[in-house]
């Protein structure tokens, strides 16, 4: 997706190469979504479609204002609507703009086996570099927020880029620009946290004792944060994870399994080397060739 360069990277999937950190002086950015002043108008969705030139097919009504029905390769952000009856028996309609959270510790990037298909920039944005994507779907498994979607057409994974193309040239993401009530804000992560504090004071004064910021430590914090009236129960908001952990499989792959696998590869190399030294190179005999021909023939005949 990106117009950015390798010098902007601080992390790169499936790669031991250390990015140069030339942009380490850059401030980390964040998008702050104040759920308490979101009116669910979907201007963000429509701005996302416009800027990224995405058009899902016209769908059906499926029992909610949530349209399209789900995120997809052409739906990078989606308003989710939850009807919640609180302890006092009063209804609350909790509307949340869903999309990539741009984790500080991105599960997708960790899980990705394709070198450089997922990168993180110095400003914190996590981006998919589509032409390096192999469509394996590991990022989907790795994401604690169920965000990436694999295209059935080109078998590549897609998600919100936090408008990295706009941010690079000093613009705010398209959804931020379109939001009519200022519910979506954008700036440095420090500024956004400060903004959130002010909002939380106001919400507490209006009776939301548990108002707070959603910036989950489990993924090292996120570059998309929410102000929630019920920060003690994020899952009320259409299943926002209470504790968004990266799948143990991914952690295992990056943790215990990866060194083991690397050790396995190293071992194979060492064994191969000694085999060569002791037994000499493997040579193909005529019998081997004939056997190869036979296997190929049989494969071609099988429908």
């Amino acid at each position: 997706m990106s117009d950015l360069q390798s010098q902007d990277y601080i992390r790169r999937s499936a790669s031991t190469m250390t990015p140069p950190s030339a942009r380490s002086h850059e401030d980390e950015v964040a998008k702050l979504i104040d759920v308490s002043r979101c009116i669910g108008c979907k201007a963000c969705q429509s701005a996302c479609m416009e800027w990224n030139d995405l058009r899902q097919e016209v769908g059906h009504f499926e029992g909610s204002y949530q349209n399209p029905n789900d995120l997809s390769p052409s739906v990078w952000t989606l308003m989710k609507f939850a009807e919640y009856e609180n302890e006092q028996g009063n209804l609350e309609w909790l509307i949340r703009k869903d999309g990539c959270m741009h984790c500080e510790d991105p599960g997708c990037l960790k899980a990705c086996p394709a070198p450089g298909a997922i990168v993180q920039y110095a400003n914190g944005i996590v981006d998919f570099i589509s032409d390096k994507c192999i469509g394996c779907g590991y990022c989907v498994k790795g994401c604690p927020f169920d965000i990436p979607r694999i295209s059935k057409t080109d078998h590549k994974s897609y998600k919100c880029t936090l408008c990295s193309d706009r941010v690079t040239v000093g613009l705010e993401p398209a959804c931020v620009k379109a939001c009519p009530t200022g519910a979506i804000m954008f700036g440095t992560k420090a500024d956004m946290k400060h903004q959130a504090e002010e909002r939380i004071v106001d919400l507490k004064s209006r009776g939301f004792d548990k108002a707070g910021l959603y910036d989950p430590a489990e993924v090292g914090g996120t570059h998309v944060m929410y102000v929630l009236h019920h920060a003690d129960k994020p899952s009320l908001y259409s299943g926002l994870p209470d504790k968004p952990g990266i799948s143990p499989m991914v952690e295992a792959w990056k943790g215990v399994m990866k060194p083991l696998a690397l050790a396995g590869i190293a071992l194979a190399t060492v064994v191969g080397f000694f085999h060569y030294m002791i037994k000499g190179p493997n040579e193909v005999t005529e019998a081997d060739e004939a056997e190869g021909e036979r296997v190929l023939d049989e494969t071609e005949k099988t429908p």
Partner: protein, 810 residues
């Protein structure tokens, strides 16, 4: 709006009732959020459904559709009982102390003067007791039982919290909490804003709904002040402009009214329009009506309008009935009395009630002309689109001319927003294909008609042949030139009586104060006078400087009248001229003149001691708690059930519904009863769509693709309706088949002891455009109009709902 969008941020309490501002006006709603964040405002929503506005509200109370007057009269009852009114304001600025004639009364649901046969009132008793000078008598001590305030107290005494809850289904505790929040703004330095829209107008008592809240606001001293006012959020660009230039069958530009056939002569006409002051020394601004009228006639007929021919008065149409509105037009089509129809920027097949009746009316026409940027349902009414438009094309003889027009972004011009700002806009692109501007098309029709009249004569060719048409390009007049005509110019050298300044003939006028009734000025729309002066196009101004950061930027565009941003702003100051709220002053008296951030809605040098009332358009100079004879259905609002309602009127069973609501005899049989149609339905917009336009745009169609209705969980369970399942919703007029949204946001209400279910019917889908085909909410709605405005009752009617299967599509 009396105030401006930006001014909403000054409110302490924002009441959204009779509208759904977040959903229908998401951009303007930012100012409500601003009020909450920057001013600590409380947002209160009263609505049958828990809406997107309710989702960000501090307090929500449910209400049964069509019972707003019971609620608001209950609020007035509460305010008077708790004495939570702004006394000094009410005494000085409202007609609370004026004494009403002895003949006026209210009994068993009827005001004095009702005529059973004509379904109309003789309103002569709805007036003040006058003294020998013709001035209204008053009792400033409020002791006289015939004082307006005492009659009001008596009128609302029936609306106790118990009664409100019984009628509206609003739980008493919720009602009382809303009352408390509203009452908190009776303090002189606190303001409440009322944001409303078609949720109030589209009722048989629509005008009274709005009046009712205006009365609440007067009692609280919230009219004319920053953060206050009655703010009608106009739903359609450019509907404010449409009303301003009088595009209604009984109106003329600037809220002047067309003569009726009872006004045989110009003098007869003027007698009924010039309102003489009802108290000593009052402004009674309509005294200038003759100046506005004569200047309008000069704009229409130029040199042909003279003193001798009474300024061409005879060339104006005279109404033989109160009005020829759209409901009437379709009645006439169905009766064969109207055979041709020009439908400009209007889609009645989607927009008007009782769709079947509209379709049959169009089918009987000889010709239909549609002028629209889009391929509207109306222009395709004759085509079979399956169950969503089951037309029998072979049987329809109507010849349809579909003229594509440019849209707003493809032409220069001005739009008037809700805040009365005329904002100039510039063409951004050429129209596609053969699209032409509305001006070009109408001009073409005009020239051809005039030519036909010239050649062939006709019953009455004079108005057309004498119309003045001095445009630089007579076949495609320039929008700027038309705007200048609206503004008006001097036709002779004018000398100002006080300053002696001479305005040369041909000069554009600075404002309507310069208009004269002797034929020396012309102006196409007096309230727009000042929009395009010798200083240039004032509507094109884009200076956002807001001197007090109080939401008034006087050099951004231009607001009618006289670039005034807050109407009645004299009432923002106390009788001595000091602002009620020193933190948010609008205008104040500096000892010699009125100064402040807004153009005074008052004589700029009229001293506070002169006792001139702030409501200068009214003959008594006061805000009216008692409306005299200005409303068709009573000087006080009274709760009447919608024409279709599930319960009796518990206040007066004999008079259930508005006795003067607009109903045609043929249509009375089209009302259903609660036995066959037990559920209350209401129609509305969703934020993803703009009426019937945006379903033509792919992105909007993606965001809200398909027709559905909203049904509460309790009813859905009772009827076996699944989430997203198919339902048939039927009324006496027709039925629609669509998906069901089973929701917690609509709860059954207990009305007079019985559970009442509400069905929500969004209105956007039709059979043209990019979204999925739908039947249209107006298949269900009844053809009944508000007694004053004839606006159809789209917001409260009866339906039945049943589980069904998907419609068979062609």
């Amino acid at each position: 709006m009396t105030n401006t969008w930006q001014d909403i941020k000054n409110a302490n309490v924002v009441v959204v009732m009779g509208g759904n501002a977040a959903e229908a006006h998401p951009c303007g709603f930012k100012w409500v959020i601003e009020a909450k964040i920057e001013n600590g405002a409380k947002l209160v929503v009263v609505d049958p459904r828990f809406t997107r506005t309710a989702s960000v509200a501090d307090y929500y109370a449910p209400i049964r559709p069509g019972t707003d007057i019971a609620f608001l009269n209950g609020v007035i009852h509460y305010l008077l009982e708790k004495d939570a009114i702004q006394h000094e304001y009410v005494r000085a600025y409202t007609n609370a102390s004026l004494i009403v004639k002895d003949g006026f009364g209210f009994q068993e649901g009827l005001f004095s003067g009702y005529n059973e046969e004509t379904h109309a009132y003789d309103k002569s008793s709805w007036d003040y007791e006058l003294d020998d000078k013709g001035f209204a008598k008053s009792d400033d001590t409020w002791q006289d039982p015939r004082c307006v305030i005492n009659l009001l107290k008596q009128h609302v005494s029936r609306y106790t919290p118990e009664m409100v809850s019984r009628i509206c289904g609003t739980p008493q505790d919720k009602f009382l909490h809303v009352c408390e929040l509203i009452a908190s703004t009776a303090a002189p330095d606190k303001a409440m804003t009322s944001l409303f829209a078609l949720g109030w107008t589209q009722h048989s008592v629509g005008s009274q709904n709005i009046r009712n809240m205006a009365m609440v606001q007067l009692l609280l001293g919230n009219i004319g002040v920053a953060g206050g006012g009655m703010n009608a959020l106009r739903g359609h660009s450019n509907i404010q402009g449409l009303t301003d230039v009088g595009l209604l069958s009984n109106q003329m530009p600037g809220y002047m009214t067309l003569p009726s056939d009872k006004n045989a002569s110009f003098d007869d006409y003027m007698k009924t329009r010039l309102f003489q002051p009802l108290r000593a020394g009052q402004t009674s601004y309509w005294q200038n009506y003759r100046k506005f009228f004569v200047s309008f006639q000069k704009a229409m007929f130029g040199d042909a309008a003279t003193q001798d021919n009474s300024w061409a008065y005879d060339w104006l149409p005279k109404l033989d009935i109160p009005l020829y509105d759209i409901i009437k037009a379709f009645e006439m089509m169905n009766n064969g009395q109207m055979t041709g129809y020009i439908c400009q920027g209007f889609n009645p097949l989607q927009a008007f009630p009782d769709r079947g009746r509209t379709r049959s009316g169009l089918s009987k026409l000889k010709f239909l002309v549609t002028m629209d940027p889009l391929d509207t349902e109306t222009s395709r009414f004759w085509q079979d689109f399956g169950p969503q438009n089951p037309a029998k094309s072979a049987e329809i003889q109507t010849e349809v001319f579909q003229l594509p027009t440019t849209c707003f972004a493809e032409e220069n011009g001005s739009l008037v927003n809700s805040a009365r700002w005329l904002q100039w806009h510039w063409k951004a692109a050429d129209g596609p294909g053969e699209a032409k501007s509305d001006i070009w098309i109408m001009t073409g029709i005009y020239h051809r008609l005039r030519e036909l009249y010239r050649k062939e004569g006709g019953a009455f060719p004079d108005p057309l042949l004498n119309l003045t048409w001095k445009y630089t390009n007579p076949v495609d007049p320039d929008p700027e030139e038309l705007a200048k005509e609206m503004n008006g110019r001097a036709l002779a050298d004018l000398t100002d009586a006080t300053t002696g300044v001479v305005t040369k003939a041909g000069t554009l006028l600075d404002g309507f104060a310069q208009l004269r009734d002797d034929g020396t000025t012309m102006s196409g729309c007096w309230i727009f006078s000042g929009c395009f002066t010798e200083k240039g196009n004032q509507m094109a101004r884009r200076d956002a400087t807001d001197p007090r950061e109080q939401g008034i930027a006087p050099n951004w565009a231009w607001a009618w009248p006289a670039n005034r941003r807050i109407l009645y702003n004299r009432a923002s100051a106390d009788p001595e001229g000091k602002p009620w709220n020193p933190a948010k002053p609008v205008i104040s008296w500096n000892g010699t003149r009125w100064v402040g951030i807004d153009t005074p809605d008052y004589g700029p040098t009229v001293k506070p001691s002169d006792g001139v009332g702030p409501f200068i358009m009214n003959a008594e100079g006061m805000g009216r708690l008692f409306a005299r004879d200005q409303m068709a259905d009573g000087p006080f609002p009274e709760h009447y059930e919608p024409l279709e309602s599930p319960v009796d009127n518990v206040l007066h069973p004999k008079v259930k519904s508005n006795p003067v609501a607009r109903v045609f005899a043929d249509d009375r049989q089209k009302f259903g009863d609660a036995k066959s149609f037990p559920y209350v339905a209401t129609t509305y917009r969703l934020t993803e769509h703009f009426h019937f336009w945006t379903k033509h745009a792919l992105i909007n169609a993606i965001l809200q693709p398909e027709e559905f209705v909203e049904i509460g969980e309790v009813l859905a369970k009772e009827k076996g309706i699944a989430q997203g399942g198919w339902v048939k919703v039927s009324s006496k007029r027709g039925e629609i088949v669509c998906k069901a949204y089973v929701t917690k946001r609509i709860k059954p209400l207990t009305v007079d002891g019985k559970p009442t279910h509400v069905i929500g019917v969004p209105l956007h889908w039709g059979f043209t455009g990019q979204a999925r085909k739908g039947y249209g909410a107006n298949t269900l709605t009844p053809p009944v109009g508000d007694a004053n405005t004839q606006t159809p009752e789209f917001k409260a009617f009866l339906v039945n709902v049943e589980k069904t299967t998907a419609p068979v599509t062609a």
